[in-house]
Amino acid sequence: MDAGVLVASGSYHLKGECDSVIVSDGCHYGIFLDIDKIRTIAQEKEAVAHEWAHWISGATYTFDAPPAVRQKAETRADRRQIEKLLPFDEMRAAMQNGITEAWELAEFFNVSESLIMDAVEYYTGPCGLKF
C-alpha cells in the first residue's frame, strides 16, 4: 500500500475484454489487473493509466448505478487516461517531427493504435484542438 492505493494482479476471469478493475471505499483504492488478459507492456500501461484516471478523478460507481452513470465515469477516465499517456503538446510535437501514422505514434508512445485513434478523436472533437 502506498498513498492509499493497493495494486494487485491475478486471474480474475471477468467478462469479455475486462482487464482491470478499481474498487474504492471512498478513501482507499485498490487496482486489480488481470494477468490473463494483459498481454503487452502497452496494454498494461494503458490499464494502469485508466484505473489511475478513475482514482484521480474519483470516477467510480456503485453496483446498482444505471448505465448512463457508469458510462460517464468511464468517459471521464478515458479522457484522463489519454491526457496522461498522450499529452496533446507531445502528440503534436511528434507529428511535426514526421511521426504521423497511427502505428508510428503507437510505437513512439508505446501505446496501442486504438488509443492513438481515441486521442486524436478526443483532442480534435470535444477539445476542439488541431494538430
Binding site: 494482479s9 474504492s24 485498490g30
Partner: protein
Amino acid sequence: MIGEKLEQLLTAKGIKAGTLARETGIPKSTVYSIIKRNNKNVAYSVMEKISEFLGVPVEYFYDSDPVSEAPATIDFDAFTYAAHKYSGDLRPEDKDTIIKMMQTLAAANKGDDKHGKAD
C-alpha cells in the same frame, strides 16, 4: 488466521492451492491443512517458502490484524468500483469477484490503518 489469510491472498492473486504446492515443493496435504483447517502449527520454514512465492513478508501471516473479520464487517454499500472494458450489467460471478477485491482492499486497509500508514 493463517489459513484464512493464505486463502484470501491466493484468491486475490488468482493462484490455486495446488499450484502453490507444486511451485514451492510443499506437500499438497500441508497446504490444504493450512487453508481448510486453519492449522496454526505449520512450520515457520514452510510459511517462509509460501511467503517468498507469494511475494509477501512472512510476517503477513503472523500479523495479529483481524484480516478475516474484514468480510464480516465490510459494508458493500460504502464501496464503489469501475471495470475497464466491461459493458452491460455485471454477471453474478463477476460481482462476486469484485466483492472479493473489496474484501482484499478492506483487509489491506485494516493493517495499514493499524500501522498508521493510510493516507
